[in-house]
Subunit: 414 residues, 2 copies
């Protein structure tokens, strides 16, 4: 597909965009071009209204009765069933709870419990750090005595062997956006008798993800990135139905019990996916996420995924056209189909440039040592936004305004 890139052309694409009306559902501040929904999605009108309702009417007036009358008790599975539609899972295969890190601990432990005769865990060099840190925790504490093998991306397939218990990979890489071929790697894992746990944190809501079709075993992911669930939104956990009977997980708190309100001393796990729950649901955070899921489900999947491809391709083409020779190097796959809904560029002054962009209202983010990430949302971004962002970037690069001392101080960033 060839893209024309004049402002008129982009405005024309916006007019034809079947998702154009979604932008108005979000409450983005004036003067902000938000290209960081891959890190923290923005507030929507519906999430704002739902939070007000959850606080004032559910908590405020239902009080303890809200567990039944406001549907709090069912939130992990109700939200899970909504979310399952975005990742190719079936009803009853997904719960929403805890953080991605906690859920990864449960998912990997559950995978090990199904494959107890093996103890090798394979993951990727440069995987999102919390995934590697959680594997380290499992290694230190698990009676399965796991060994962890962290391999470069190109050696993952060959590293999966008949000693491998579990493969733990992130579907869309958090810096490069590169997509692992889920079907291929899952098949290889199964051929070797291993199980696979996919981290979908940068996939869900952004790229085609079909866990059942790939026959994936377990998956986890994040609620606050492309799902727009709010800062620190609860995460999710998927377990294929065929594992529900045999899987065990160590964080067996009362919400994973078959009959939590009988208050028995003896642990008896729930039958289905609820076995993967732990403690009491964080209702306020889950309420914002549910509102955001409802918006996501109103958009046709094919429209969403096509628009992501168009946005990322056009942005890349605009950068090539307007910023060539200004020191940027693409750090994501060239082919749009090989990457997710964010693109990274390297530059020797990446940190200062990103600070300068943010000051100008273009919010992306910086990743050490020299990456600038730009995220793309099919719901709250227009095609014309891309041109506005690239023109500001070009001006910053051309004038070298980023060399101003105000942009040089390194702060904690997320």
């Amino acid at each position: 597909m060839t893209y024309k890139l004049t402002r008129c052309d982009l405005q024309d694409l916006d007019r034809k965009d079947p998702l154009a009306s979604f932008k108005n559902k979000f409450l983005l501040p004036d003067g902000i071009l938000y290209m960081n929904g891959n890190s923290l999605g923005p507030l929507s009108r519906r999430a704002k209204e739902r939070m007000s309702d959850a606080v004032e009417h559910e908590w405020g007036t239902q009080l303890i009765r809200g567990w039944n009358t406001a549907g709090w008790y069912d939130m992990p599975t109700r939200l899970g069933n909504k979310l399952s539609q975005l990742i190719g899972a079936a009803d009853g295969e997904v719960v929403v709870c805890d953080s991605t890190s906690v859920n990864l601990f449960k998912a990997v432990s559950a995978a090990l419990s199904i494959n107890p005769s093996r103890n090798k865990i394979i993951s990727e060099v440069g995987n999102f750090p919390t995934d590697l840190y959680i594997l380290d925790g499992i290694k230190q504490f698990s009676n399965n005595n796991p060994t962890i093998r962290i391999k470069p991306r190109n050696n993952i397939i060959e590293a999966i062997d008949t000693e491998t218990a579990v493969v733990v990979l992130t579907h869309v890489h958090y810096v490069s956006g590169e997509i692992f071929p889920m079907d291929l790697i899952t098949r290889k894992a199964h051929e070797m008798g291993a199980l696979i746990v996919w981290d979908l944190s940068h996939s869900v809501g952004a790229v085609r993800t079909d866990l059942n079709s790939a026959k994936a075993d377990f998956a986890v992911g994040c609620g606050y990135k492309h799902l727009n669930g709010g800062p620190g939104a609860p995460a999710f956990l998927y377990a294929a139905k065929r594992h529900h009977q045999t899987m065990q997980q160590p964080l067996s708190g009362w919400f994973s019990h078959k009959k939590p309100f009988e208050f028995n001393d003896d642990y008896m796990p729930a039958d289905g996916i609820s076995k993967m729950l732990t403690g009491t649901t964080g209702v306020l955070g889950a309420s914002a996420l549910e509102a955001s899921l409802d918006i996501m489900l109103e958009a046709r999947t094919t429209d969403r995924l096509a628009k992501v491809l168009n946005l990322t391709t056009i942005f890349q083409n605009l950068i090539t056209k307007q910023c060539s020779g200004l020191g940027l190097t693409l750090a994501s796959p060239e082919n749009p189909a090989d990457r997710g809904a964010h693109i990274s560029y390297r530059h020797s002054n990446a940190y200062a440039i990103m600070q300068n962009l943010i000051k100008r209202g273009v919010i992306g983010d910086f990743r050490s040592p020299d990456y600038m990430r730009f995220g793309f949302s099919p719901l709250f971004m227009s095609f014309e936004d891309l041109l506005d962002a690239v023109e500001i970037l070009r001006e910053i690069l051309t004038t070298k305004s980023y060399l101003s001392p105000e942009f040089q101080v390194l702060n904690a960033v997320t």
Copy 2:
């Protein structure tokens, strides 16, 4: 102390109550006598305003920048330092994060990591179920190969021996309200070379709790009961400073890393209490809890604790005076100093009576098989409330209105 119990006397106590003005800080519905703050504390004006601010201004306008500009990144330790003042801990010994169940898993695992030559864990028959279920999970998972010994309350002290690695007890029992002598049991554990983990879920904000004075090792607790932090509010975890260097915990997600934003592959734990964190902070839930902590810290501790004793004593006396011979049996310690901020009564029709009470606006709760629990808050309850509640209870018991079919159907309750 002798209490007079006429309405005039109670009104007089309300007039002299130094905490009387706090009731107006809470948004309780008209016609509700809320006696379930031990299960889910009510909404306050400040929490409502803070949630609106967190949603609209922090998330809505700060977006990803909120991690720095809105102080999200420091929430676990900032809230922890506020909370530490309620439990006799020092600055830097408490973090707010995750659920009580997840935190108990971390605290017990950390205690085992410090005491690796032993593997016996002692807890109580009838402890809050999630505590026992989490211990079961640790037993199934941990390479320490733990054995769990669940003993009746009266045999706990003698059960702690030189093979004991960790004692895990709930300070205030969730049904009876009975208080374990923290100093005595902690001392016995230490004499035997064991460590102790206290669950403060029903203590914090309700009874005197002085972890440092008792030399407690670890503690966890709940944010949504007497702290009024909102449904499923984040929980907390305390670790005595002397253990910070040596303790390890298995849920070693990126928020427990020394330098999380350097995105290194290798895990390096943070130096202090942050080592006990796991994943990304649930900002929305933590925001409501922080507002609630701020209210709690405005009340003088001595006033709060004295009022709890007065409320529970007067309620007990009113029940004795007005409901004797109507089938109620006290299921909590007689002596107010031996119990926390809730009292349980048994009755052969406890479930139906509680449903009838709730219909009449007196919200307590039912615990299987035949307990009615009534919770007491020094902040949002008046002395006159007690008389109103007891008069309604007496009427229900006298007229046996609870025998109506509408009150007989057992629903899930929390």
